[in-house]
């Protein structure tokens, strides 16, 4: 058996629908059609009442989810692309994320954001929006990088009594495969050391994990052992795993695909510097995409975001420091 990242997302939703009658999926074209990326394929056929096509109304979609959550349901909202959640931004950060704090009523909704760049997707079908949502109190933001995590973290997201922004990466949808779905799982809020090393730590998440791993592979030939930490959940951040790693390596590079001002790499480096200053043997380093919208042309796009080779370049500089 071989299962893709996308199929894992579908399987998790299928299982959630099966196990809990309070779960339903609402989004554009998620019904009979199975979704723009087929993440809900065949689910409508099995659960026709609970896999529902929405109008093109991202604001109202999220509002509806909050209302349903108030009544005890556990809605999953599929945004057709993460980028379009900008239209639902207000309801996400001001309605959903504040509900529990304002009213003591939990808000167990999961908002699935097909995120990140792929060649030719351009400025409005490629965005990573984790930063925006993580900034607001009350949200949990998950960014799975593996097939196993896509599955287990989505199940956990649906089970959590708080709004979860689930950033699934489109670049991983079809390419990333695994032999099986996980039996035992790490809680979503824990980071994972994916590869151990001693010369430097890379802290990253989502699709960038794979660029980091490729860079680490390349550098092995030269005797460099790079430790790679997958954050998995970017809000909250599991700082103890991160700091534990830096305690061993003394050097850190944080990588993110999002825009460079603010965001996960900034939060990570800032917290490492405050909380683990004395662990550092060299200045901590960040690598993000370039500070422009995400370009359409594949040649521009590959240059715009971090890749194994730019990661490697940064790591070599970092180790020489």
């Amino acid at each position: 058996m071989s299962i893709s990242y996308l199929e894992a997302i579908r399987e998790a939703q299928s299982l959630a629908l099966e196990n809990d009658e309070n779960v339903f999926i609402y989004g554009q074209d998620v019904g009979a059609f199975g979704g723009a990326f087929k993440a809900t394929k065949n689910l409508f056929q099995k659960y026709p009442d609970r896999v529902i096509d929405s109008p093109i109304s991202e604001d109202a979609m999220v509002g509806l989810a909050v209302g349903a959550a108030i009544e005890g349901m556990r809605p999953i909202i599929e945004m057709q692309f993460a980028d379009f959640s900008s239209v639902g931004f207000n309801q996400i950060v001001n309605q959903a994320a504040t509900l529990f704090w304002r009213t003591a009523v939990p808000c167990p909704i999961t908002i699935r954001l097909p995120s990140g760049g792929t060649p030719g997707s351009g400025p409005f079908h490629s965005q990573c929006m984790e930063t925006i949502y993580a900034h607001y109190p009350g949200t949990i933001v998950m960014t799975p990088a593996t097939v196993e995590d896509a599955y287990s973290m989505l199940l956990e997201a649906i089970a959590i009594d708080d709004p979860v922004i689930f950033c699934e990466h489109k670049y991983l949808y079809y390419h990333l495969k695994s032999d099986s779905l996980p039996k035992q799982t790490l809680p979503a809020k824990s980071a994972r050391i994916v590869r151990s090393g001693r010369h430097a730590t890379v802290v990253t998440y989502s699709a960038m994990l794979h660029e980091a791993l490729r860079a680490a592979d390349n550098m092995k030939n030269d005797g460099y052992e790079i430790e790679v930490v997958d954050l998995r959940c970017i809000k909250p951040i599991d700082m103890s795993t991160v700091l534990g790693s830096i305690a061993r390596t003394g050097r850190v590079l944080a990588i993110g695909e999002a825009f460079p001002w603010g965001g996960v790499t900034s939060e990570i480096i800032s917290r490492i510097s405050s909380e683990g200053f004395n662990l550092l043997d060299a200045p901590p380093v960040r690598l993000n995409s370039i500070d422009t919208p995400i370009p359409y042309h594949p040649d521009l796009w590959r240059y715009h975001r971090p890749t194994a080779s730019s990661v490697e370049e940064e790591l070599r500089k970092l180790i020489r420091e």
Binding site: P55, V66, E71
Partner: protein, 339 residues
């Protein structure tokens, strides 16, 4: 239609009861808000005070005909009367205004930002239009759980809020899902200082209804009986499966936007027009005229309201505000994510 005389009579029997009941809530709201304004003017309320003066008939007529513990009611800033009619304890309002830690939001939010969604009254956020889709979701959930039955959900907004994308998306969604949603639009002629001709260009806001494929009615929001009958009609239609309903109440805000605002932009003509009539006085006259109550009984209603208001405010004033040092500073509900 055939025996409408008969029907009217039946309604009339009910009408007197509903009218007096609704009037009671109107009086309570006016009395409470007058007190709150005074306290505000004395500098003892922090933040804004927004009152429903002139809108009580419209607001309370909807809520007094909803079934507490079953229906859903989402009030906005000028719905003190509706909140009371829907069953909000007066002490919740007093506590929220006065910052008591025992209020429904424990001091985290103030003034009109209170509710009890487990009792069918969700707590508003400030972003106009944003609550309508929440009511859609509550109704949607009940239907999914096969608990919808004859439940209806009402969402209140003002004329200005009809310009928001949120209003449009939610109403359209409700129409597509044929949800028993009632949108009550209090057209008080202004959004803050902005008159309706800078807000929309249709003849009547109710002309929007056809564009969504829903039913809509236009009523005189200063007239208690017209309000009761109008809401009665749309509530039964919604309960009977007719889908979303729009009710536009034409009236005038008899206060400033907030109590900080003396509303110089409202012309004297408008104030002295029919729209500017005080629904509370009109209702009292009507009730006496129809002999639904005597003048004495009306005065008793007022006295009782004063007693209740005094008690609630005294109680809230005697209570402590939240203590930041022992406050639960947690935005998460899930135990494993709480600090």
């Amino acid at each position: 239609m055939a025996n409408s005389a008969n029907q009217n009579q039946k309604l009339n029997g009910k009408l007197s009861t509903i009218a007096v009941d609704t009037y009671r809530w109107m009086v309570l709201a006016r009395t409470f808000e007058d007190r709150i304004s005074n306290i505000y003017r004395a500098g003892k309320i922090v933040g804004g005070v927004y009152v429903g003066k002139g809108q009580e008939a419209f607001s309370a007529s909807l809520a007094s005909q909803l079934m507490k513990g079953q229906d859903i009611y989402s009030p906005l800033i000028r719905d003190m009367a509706g909140r009371a009619a829907f069953g909000e304890p007066l002490i919740d309002a007093a506590r929220t205004y006065l910052g008591s830690a025992q209020g429904p939001s424990v001091g985290r939010d103030g003034n009109v930002h209170r509710g009890n969604s487990q009792e069918g009254m969700p707590t508003m956020i400030s972003h106009l239009g944003a609550m309508i889709s929440v009511v859609c979701g509550m109704l949607f959930a009940r239907r999914l759980r096969k608990k919808l039955n004859t439940v209806v959900g009402a969402a209140c907004i003002g004329d200005g809020a009809t310009s928001t994308g949120a209003f449009h998306e939610a109403l359209n969604m409700a129409a597509v899902e044929k949800l028993p949603l009632i949108i009550s639009i209090a057209n008080n002629q202004f959004a803050y200082s902005t008159p309706t001709d800078r807000q929309f260009a249709c003849n009547e806001l109710v002309d929007r209804a056809a564009g969504y494929g829903v039913n809509g009615i236009n009523i005189n929001g200063t007239d208690l009986v017209e309000c009761i009958e109008g809401f009665e009609k749309v509530i039964s239609l919604a309960r009977a499966g007719d889908g979303p309903q729009i009710v536009v109440g034409n009236l005038l805000r008899l206060s400033g936007h907030g109590e900080h605002d003396d509303a110089p932009y409202v012309s004297n003509e408008m104030r002295s027009s029919d729209l500017g009539q005080d629904c509370l006085l009109k209702a009292k006259n009507k009730i006496i005229e129809e002999s639904w109550c005597t003048e004495n009984e009306c005065n008793e209603i007022q006295e009782q309201a004063t007693v209740e208001v005094n008690a609630a405010i005294a109680q809230a004033e005697s209570e402590k505000g939240p203590n930041p040092y022992s406050h639960d500073w947690n935005a998460y509900s899930s135990p494993s994510f709480r600090k």
